[in-house]
């Protein structure tokens, strides 16, 4: 789901351009997602540059021929434990060509306890997307999921782990809830009041905020991977293939074949499940804010990129007797980059 951009710029160029044009403030944002890692930094054109890499790897047998071939094809690899490990998007593409499953450093929004090589691999990908700090101890806000309603998850360990990785890379790592980052990124016009929802690979995170302050944050352990697993099960294919089918350009309002139909069914279920949980938390939660005016809902995350997402979301919302008045429901302009952008806003503004 990347857009190739001819205007690519590496981090050194960003740093040197600072003095000539726009003031670029220190601070970087990092979205640590189950499916993708995205790093955001201000650029000299009053915009931001986001480097996105798939959070996956694939190991293949190590020989000189393979190494040369991978280098010629510009496929990034490292040799780890006598095996060639292909990282990121290339791993996903290779897995699809050879009908294999990629290995994933994270699952359900957290570092995967089942993947022994998770930490060294994710550290390499983070290093690749984030680059060197422009100054020792530069702020880097990174996304973490909220506590989950439907599974037990140890966020403290996950958060501490990535703080450690970033500190080791020369940054000052600070955590921010990923749906809160969506609020920072997408709800500036509403004075950062409203509901931010990040539909990620491993989880869906929601944050209800009032003037930047998060009043309610939670997650459900369903996301793009949940859709992929179920689609793979019903179609009898592997998960990487199901991910590929989902990302090739499906419109979930208008499924064209059996595969699209399966994807559409599980998307609807995911959206409905998330909305029901938000509604339920609103109805049962303590100290919930009372909004006199309708508030907006901003949806973001890679899983929200599918065609027809926001229309289906609105359909499902209409079926829900939501307890508070809602104004606009919209998808972030750059849904995949939204969390990283929100993290960047938090990093630049600081504490």
């Amino acid at each position: 789901m990347h857009t190739d951009d001819d205007n690519t710029m590496n981090h050194d160029e960003v740093a040197t351009a600072t003095s000539d044009t726009t003031e670029i403030m220190l601070g970087k944002g990092l979205d640590i997602g189950t499916a993708n890692l995205a790093a955001a930094v201000q650029n000299s054109e009053d915009g931001i540059t986001v480097t996105v890499e798939r959070n996956a790897f694939l190991d293949i047998g190590s020989d000189v021929y393979s190494k040369n071939m991978l280098t010629k094809l510009k496929v990034p690899y490292v040799v780890h434990n006598s095996k060639i490990v292909v990282l990121g998007e290339s791993a996903f593409e290779l897995a699809n060509v050879f009908g294999k499953e990629t290995r994933r450093p994270m699952s359900d929004g957290m570092i995967s306890p089942c993947e022994v090589d998770a930490m060294p691999m994710i550290k390499l990908i983070i290093n690749k997307v984030l680059g060197e700090p422009r100054e020792q101890g530069e702020n880097c806000y990174f996304s973490v999921p909220a506590e989950s309603l439907d599974v037990d998850n140890n966020i403290v360990y996950h958060q501490g782990l990535f703080e450690g990785v970033l500190n080791k890379l020369g940054y000052t790592g600070k955590a921010i809830n990923e749906a809160h980052a969506v609020v920072f990124s997408e709800l500036a016009d509403q004075d950062f009041t409203g509901i931010g929802i990040s539909f990620g690979g491993g989880m869906a995170n929601a944050c209800v905020a009032y003037k930047t302050i998060p009043c309610l944050q939670f997650s459900v352990a369903r996301g793009g991977d949940w859709i992929d697993s179920n689609v793979a099960n019903v179609l009898g294919i592997n998960k990487s293939r199901a991910t590929y089918l989902k990302e090739r350009g499906v419109d979930i309002r208008d499924p064209k074949n059996r595969e699209d139909e399966a994807i559409s069914i599980y998307y609807r279920n995911l959206i409905s499940y998330t909305l029901e949980n938000i509604k339920n938390r609103f109805e049962t939660g303590e100290n919930m804010p009372m909004f006199n005016e309708p508030i907006d809902i901003a949806c973001a995350g890679g899983t929200a990129l599918v065609g027809g997402f926001i229309e289906v979301f609105r359909d499902e919302f209409a079926k829900t007797d939501f307890p508070i008045p809602i104004g606009r429901i919209f998808r972030a302009e750059d849904a995949l980059q939204s969390v990283a952008k929100g993290c960047l806003v938090a990093a630049v503004i600081g504490d």
């Binding site: 201000q42 550290k123 782990l161």
Partner: protein, 249 residues
């Protein structure tokens, strides 16, 4: 002359016998087993001893009769004792199971009440706290009851006849007790009461000490790879709004 007594025979039989469940036997490949009652074995031995004694000239018929009567009396006494032990063990097992079932039902009811109360009665914080405290106390009492039931189950476990069943009950009680402890801790934390002292923040940096040097030495072509980057709208507007909210703008 040493005479084999029925109680000695019984003791020997008990000492040298072992209790196996049907599943254990099946696992050992025994689909059918021949069984004989300990009382039959004892009777056969008594009969044999009796016959040998009568045929020998060492004891008179009267002495033999006295010995047989004494032996039979002793055997009946031991048999009654064993029967009473078995009845006691069966009763203890039944009691433990009933207690377990009652505790399970109460736990389920209380958990349901607690979950509903915690979620639904948010505005009545004071009442909630009291309710929670009552429930926590009640759960603590159940835990104590369970501990007693565990002790009882362990006591009846010593009886060989009831061992496999009481073992199962004891394990189930352990599980419920552990689950109760965990729930109590959770509720305690919600109320600001906890038996545990909050730990200091865990420092995870040391986790990367060992592999940091390894990364640098890893053979890789990543340095030559170009990064795919996307550009997006700026954050100046967001920052301005934030500063305004913070009162800086």
């Amino acid at each position: 002359m040493e005479i084999t007594k029925p109680d000695a025979v019984n003791e020997e039989l008990l000492a040298k016998s072992q209790t196996l469940s049907l599943d254990d036997l099946r696992r050992k490949g025994k689909d059918k087993v021949k069984v004989i009652r300990a009382s039959d074995v004892t009777a056969m031995i008594s009969e044999t001893v009796d016959r040998v004694l009568r045929e020998s000239s060492a004891l008179s018929d009267e002495d033999v009769e006295t010995l047989v009567q004494k032996g039979t009396k002793e055997f009946k006494r031991v048999f009654r004792e064993r029967q009473l032990e078995r009845q006691r063990a069966a009763q203890e097992l039944q009691d433990s199971q009933a207690e377990l079932q009652a505790a399970n039902t109460r736990i389920k009811e209380l958990e349901g009440v607690i979950d509903t109360s915690v979620d639904r009665c948010a505005p009545q914080e004071e009442q909630n706290s009291e309710l929670m405290m009552r429930m926590v106390t009640e759960m603590a009492e159940i835990r104590a009851e369970l501990a007693k039931a565990q002790e009882a189950a362990q006591g009846s476990q010593s009886s060989a006849a009831a061992a496999p069943e009481t073992d199962g009950v004891s394990k189930a009680l352990d599980q419920i007790s552990a689950s109760l402890n965990s729930r109590l801790e959770q509720f305690g934390k919600k109320l600001g009461i906890s038996s545990a002292v909050e730990a200091r923040d865990v420092k995870h940096e040391s986790l990367f000490d060992s592999d940091s040097d390894g990364d640098a030495n890893m053979e890789s072509n990543m340095g030559d790879m170009e990064l795919k980057q996307n550009t997006g709208g700026g954050i100046a507007g967001n920052l301005a709004r934030l500063k305004k909210l913070k009162g800086d703008g």
